[in-house]
């Protein structure tokens, strides 16, 4: 069962990037690229559909996104800022993905992990994953479905 197409996830993520991260002159998010998970931002969707949306990226990409969102130089970016900014990105990505899934569902507040191995999604099945390259840095959006009610 495929609830989400690659194109849908790619399009909405690119739109989010261009709206939140392009006004200051950063280039677009391109589809394709390697994995990266120095920062992992997670949000849970629960209700009619249950699962997790994850935005993971390299430290460089996270720093850059934070610098753009706060409009401050990267040298001034703190880890707290990164957690906030990347958390907001997964919130927006998750909210838009939630709208594509069966509802009604509720979106949790984001949770951001730093410097950990890729989160092992126990009892979760990969529903969709799209890898992007943002100025040669990895950004990955993955959607994991809970097996519980399938």
């Amino acid at each position: 069962m495929t609830l989400l197409s690659t194109e849908e996830v790619a399009q909405l993520t690119q739109e989010i990037w261009s709206a939140l991260l392009a006004p200051n002159g950063t280039p677009q998010l391109e589809v394709g690229g390697a994995a990266g998970h120095e920062f992992q931002a997670l949000t849970n969707i629960s209700g009619e559909w249950n699962g997790t949306v994850c935005v993971s990226c390299s430290r460089t990409a996270a720093m850059r996104a934070t610098s753009v969102m706060f409009d401050i130089p990267e040298s001034e970016v703190t880890t707290t800022d990164v957690v906030d900014a990347v958390g907001e990105l997964v919130n927006v990505v998750g909210g838009n993905i939630k709208a594509l899934l069966p509802g009604p569902t509720v979106l949790s507040l984001p949770n951001v992990l730093e410097g950990e191995p890729p989160v092992h999604m126990d009892n979760l099945e990969l529903e969709q994953e799209v890898r992007f390259s943002w100025m040669a840095e990895p950004v990955v959006v993955s959607v994991w479905a809970s097996n519980a009610d399938d």
Binding site: E15, I16, S18, A19, L20, P23, T66, M69, F70, D71, D81, D84, A85, G87, E88, N91, V92, G94, G95, N96, K98, A99, G103, P104, L107, L109
Partner: protein, 143 residues
Amino acid sequence: MKVLVVDDSRAMRSLLRRILTRAGADEIQEAGDGREAVELLETGNVPDVALVDWNMPVMNGLELITTMRRRAEWRRVAIIMVTTESEQSQVVRALAAGAHEYLIKPFDEYSLIEKLEMLGFQAPASAGAGSGPALSGQKGIEP
């Protein structure tokens, strides 16, 4: 124009603040959740417009709007929900609770300025969202 921005993300608040400044806001207050917003409102400094996120800890945006609509002195505040919640039913709920307008994240700068204009707040010409005779037909360009 006095604006209250309620969002649990400082990054989003910072982004909104920059747009609002360009749109000619004179005063911008920030709150990280609905409870903080209520505390700010309690001080008596009532804004003209509130931009309210939906998903926030402590008190969410829908609860905040409902609270604001119950208090006579806060009822005149124009409320724009600015959220990633984009299901049709959610928009309907927010409007029913008392939001005047609804902006779905992601949005671009001009869509926020246009929403403010719809509520009667005119951005200065340099903000570039307005058009038509007032600006001699000159279209603005993204700053």
